[in-house]
Amino acid sequence: MNNQRRTVLKSGSGAALLGMLAAAGIITPGMALADWNKAAFDAKSMADTLKALGVAGTTDSKDVQVTGPDIAENGAVVPVGVASTLPNVTMVAILIEKNPNALAASFVLPEGTEANVQTRVKMGQTSNIYALVKSDGKFFMATKEIKVTLGGCGG
């Protein structure tokens, strides 16, 4: 479905075409509005992911925080959060270096939404988690290592 949509979008342009496709039931209006970045989610390495997200360069920043436990009892559910005190944050993303695909989630923050998002991710193994933040058009990063233990039996 997504592949098909992308091919169609590449070969044509303009609202008229989108309208036609929507009318034909190929895409719903909602789907056409949002733009799930397949290239970024398919990218494997950190470098390729950043490239697909259109990030040319990043600066490490103490004003970006990755929150989460130092140790996660189970890699299937790891609570992580990104917070930043930088001004005009319009986007944040969570990347997991050692996952098969680094990008876990990205968020677009309209004006009025705070740069403070929490979610839960899967981690295949112990890894650095990166928070990417776009502030005033520039990209900033912070990192934290989370150890994953898969434990024994019980519960």
């Binding site: 189970n74 024994g152 019980g154």
Partner: protein, 271 residues
Amino acid sequence: MIRRLMKTLVGAAVLAAFAGGVVAQDSKVADELAKYREALADGNPADLLEVKGEGLWAEKRGPKNASLEKCDLGQGPGKLEGAYAALPKYFKDTNKVMDVESRLVHCMVTLQGFTQAEVTKQWFSRPGKESDIEALVTFIGAKSNGMKINAPATHPEEARMAKMGEYIFYRRSGPQDFSCSICHGQEGKRIRLQELGNLTTKEGAGFAMKTWPSYRVSQGAVWTMQRRLIDCMRQARWPEPAYLADSIVALETYLQKTATGTVMETPGIKR
């Protein structure tokens, strides 16, 4: 036999030496794990199932097109508050000690007209296959949240079941000659990072029983007490009992009796 014993002793010595290095880091690890569990507690996916269970309880279903609102879980028809905390219990109408799951299945059969096979076919969920029982038990359990476990097994039939449960708890069996009590009969035991509760004390049994049903993050599903105990037996390499087997109800009766007085905190969330 002697060779096997030697192997065990050497293994124990290695373990003891290894544990020395681990102990120093224990408290830090425990703190971090506590942080992890705390972060999961707010927003327990079991809450989704609780909502679903509430809907299923009131929905007219089955050949008799009836809801479960007249189901008597031991506190009178339709009375859910505190029902979970007071089970297993002896029921006159079936002349049996029943836990929440056997009683729920009984209601679905008698009130809604399902066959037992239909009801128990999906007694636990698999990816893409939801279980009504899991949802209903989560909902029923939550109706006892904040209440004290009150299953002292005073009725002679309940006392008999508790006794049987205690017997099973200590009985060594299976290819590994294992019993529940080997892992869960002493303080301060653990398997890798998992602390093992001592289920023979009120504190230990209470800590275990108050949080079920519980969302298990490793399984991505809510587990009921039946599933928990049946899987314990599998892990002990025992033959797995059938769902709703008397042996499981007996173990529950013993554990709930020991845990009586502990305040329920359900649905829980666990590794």
